[in-house]
């Protein structure tokens, strides 16, 4: 079902709020993976605030949907979302990266409430998600598993081992989303290690491929609904995104894979995020 105007507005507001909290977190942490956090934020926001059944008061609830942040480095994007949902106190974000803090660069299921798997070594999340999905099916449980991959992460051979297996086992209760932000640490993905024709690769591995604008909540909603309805083949959503989305001096620049903000940059980032949010709202109003 298409999003209502109110729903879209709610998601856009929430994503904006989380982006602001994320850049604050980067400042508190000293530095962080800000580029990928901004590109993934709309995807994570719509999953947690529209589609996934989770209960932050009971993070181990057996029938909850599972989310695995396979691109585990974007902890400064994911932790604010979890804190905002109530998995832990937002104040904890101020201690991000500090010695002894449960919050490190890569969020860790041993230490952080709400995190389903300790990721960070790339190429692991899809296999874990597939195991969870097959486990749910074996136990006759209806919950779904969502895995968010980075596009650069898809250089890892293990991703394709898992993709082959997900299709082979017809794991339609597994929904894969790739944050296709076109950048990796050392440069644009197509320069460092070409991924294209990316959608064809997933198709060839037996997936139903859904391509969507990863910063358009209407497009994401229809993509996720299509993916959740898949019955024959597992679905992958290739979400076309912009690294650093919403911050003009970062957007699209692979060099902002990882970085920090001084007070001046932080203020500029927030100002830019404000403008980005306004422009999205204006676009929504035109529809």
């Amino acid at each position: 079902m298409a999003l209502t105007t109110e729903e879209r507005r709610r998601l856009e507001d929430k994503a904006h709020e989380l982006r602001l909290l994320s850049v604050d977190t980067v400042a508190w942490a000293g530095s962080g993976h800000v580029g990928g956090s901004m590109s993934a934020m709309d995807i994570m926001t719509i999953l947690y605030h529209k589609y996934m059944r989770v209960d932050p008061k009971d993070p181990a609830k057996p029938d909850r949907d599972r989310f695995i942040l396979s691109k585990g480095h974007v902890g400064v994007g994911y932790a604010p979302l979890l804190a905002d949902l109530g998995y832990f106190d937002k104040e904890l974000l101020r201690e991000y990266n500090h010695t002894g803090s449960p919050l490190g660069m890569h969020l860790d299921s041993n230490k952080v409430r709400g995190v389903e798997a300790s990721t960070g070594s790339l190429g692991h999340g899809l296999a874990i998600g597939l195991g969870m999905a097959l486990g749910a099916r074996l136990r006759g449980e209806a919950w779904k598993t969502f895995v968010l991959l980075g596009d650069g992460e898809c250089d890892e051979g293990a991703v394709w081992e898992s993709a082959m297996a997900a299709a082979h086992f017809k794991a339609t209760n597994l929904i894969t989303v790739v944050d296709r932000n076109h950048c990796m640490i050392d440069g644009p993905t197509e320069d460092v290690m070409a991924l294209e024709p990316f959608a064809d690769k997933w198709r060839a591995f037996g997936f139903e491929v859904i391509e969507a604008d990863g910063h358009d909540f209407d497009a994401l909603a229809s993509a996720i609904e299509r993916a959740m309805a898949a019955t024959e083949r597992p679905a992958v959503i290739i979400a076309d995104t912009i690294k650093g989305c919403g911050i003009d001096f970062i957007a699209g620049d692979y060099k902002w894979h990882y970085g920090g903000f001084d007070a001046e940059k932080l203020a500029k980032a927030k100002e830019s995020l404000g403008l980005y949010h306004e422009s999205r709202l204006a676009k929504g109003a035109e529809r």
Binding site: G123, A127, L130, G131, A133, G135, R139
Partner: protein, 335 residues
């Protein structure tokens, strides 16, 4: 121990891995949450027996070990208890990042039963020998590492692994092992060495296929040389039975470790770490594959080649016994 029916009558006609497969089938009957995974080695590792009995609970993932260990982690997170089998070399190396981060760090209930370990895949060649896995796996926090001496002990270990929450690595051989135990009632307990022979002159600490050989060597040395050699079956490398090692240091003052594994970091390393901490002086020697890549051949021949068969062990004992061991300032006559 209920349901365990394996004796030397079985070990005489079934390979160690076949016993593992049967033991897992029995365990699978009792515990519906047990699932199996293999990477196109269901037949070779004998986990295929479980797959045939419980096809819905078995996943053959094809030749893709990284995915297999990651999937096992996910299945464990979904409340199942995966038993995962491939060759030792692929468990300890090909899928190690997943074993480390997904399974051991997250302390998941995944049981890795790795076959074709040590030199037991002899003629397959050096690429298929696995003489580093004990060293690698015992460095993983949270992981229990077990090297059973024969089929009976393998069946006991497979069951004990289920009872022990958290990840377990069990290392077994390809093919048949010499029969060490005639039945299961010898007091197997994870983390507790089994004293195979008492002795006061020297202690041999062995694991896996070298246990039988150490016992044979000790019997031979008693007959021929009148030596009283203690033999410990250190089936659990981690957590190691420090108390048994400390007692051996104090009571026999001479320690020889013997393993079908590199002398670097394996059983010998684990024993040395404990023994050195006693603060006592003692003679010490590690037998195993020296720091080299192994040659090709039959398992038996390779054990002899590297001096970890009965004769090699006996020779090492005699050499150590022939050297003076005393607390004076004369270093020339000491070991």
């Amino acid at each position: 121990m209920s349901g365990l029916t394996f004796t030397m009558l079985d070990t005489a006609k079934m390979s160690t891995a076949e016993i593992y497969g049967q033991a897992l089938c029995e365990l699978g009957d009792e515990h519906p949450e047990i699932v199996g995974l293999s990477a196109d080695l269901a037949k070779s590792t004998k986990i295929g027996a479980f797959g045939e009995k419980f096809p819905d609970r078995f996943f053959n993932v094809g030749i893709a070990e990284q995915n297999m260990f990651g999937m096992a982690a996910g299945l464990a997170k979904a409340g199942l208890v995966p038993y995962v089998s491939t060759f030792a070399i692929f468990t300890a190396m090909r899928g190690l990042d997943q074993v480390h981060t997904d399974i051991c760090y997250q302390n998941l209930d995944v049981k890795m039963i790795a076959t074709h370990a040590g030199l037991s895949f002899g003629q397959a060649g050096t690429t298929h020998h696995c003489t580093e896995d004990i060293a690698i796996m015992r460095s993983m926090a949270n992981l229990t590492v077990v090297v059973p001496a024969d089929g009976v002990e393998t069946a006991l270990a497979v069951r004990a692994a289920y009872e022990r929450k958290g990840p377990v690595y069990i290392r077994i051989n390809r093919g048949f092992d010499q029969v060490v135990y005639d039945g299961p009632d010898y007091g197997f307990e994870l983390g507790k060495a089994v004293t195979m022979r008492e002795g006061t002159d020297l202690t041999i600490v062995a694991c896996g296929s070298t246990v039988w050989r150490a016992v044979e060597a000790a019997a031979m040395l008693e007959k021929s040389d009148g030596l009283k050699v203690r033999v410990l079956n250190m089936h659990t490398i981690k957590p190691i039975d420090a108390e048994a090692i400390e007692r051996a240091v104090k009571e026999t003052r001479r320690i020889i470790t013997v393993e079908d594994h590199s002398v670097v970091g394996g059983l010998g390393g684990a024993v040395a770490e404990v023994a050195a901490g006693t603060g006592k002086s003692f003679s010490f020697k590690r037998l195993g594959v020296p720091d080299c890549f192994s040659i090709i051949g039959l398992h038996e021949d390779l054990l002899a080649h590297y001096g970890i068969d009965e004769n090699g062990i006996a020779a090492a004992v005699r050499e150590m016994m022939g050297k003076d061991f005393e607390a004076d300032d004369d270093w020339e006559d000491e070991v």
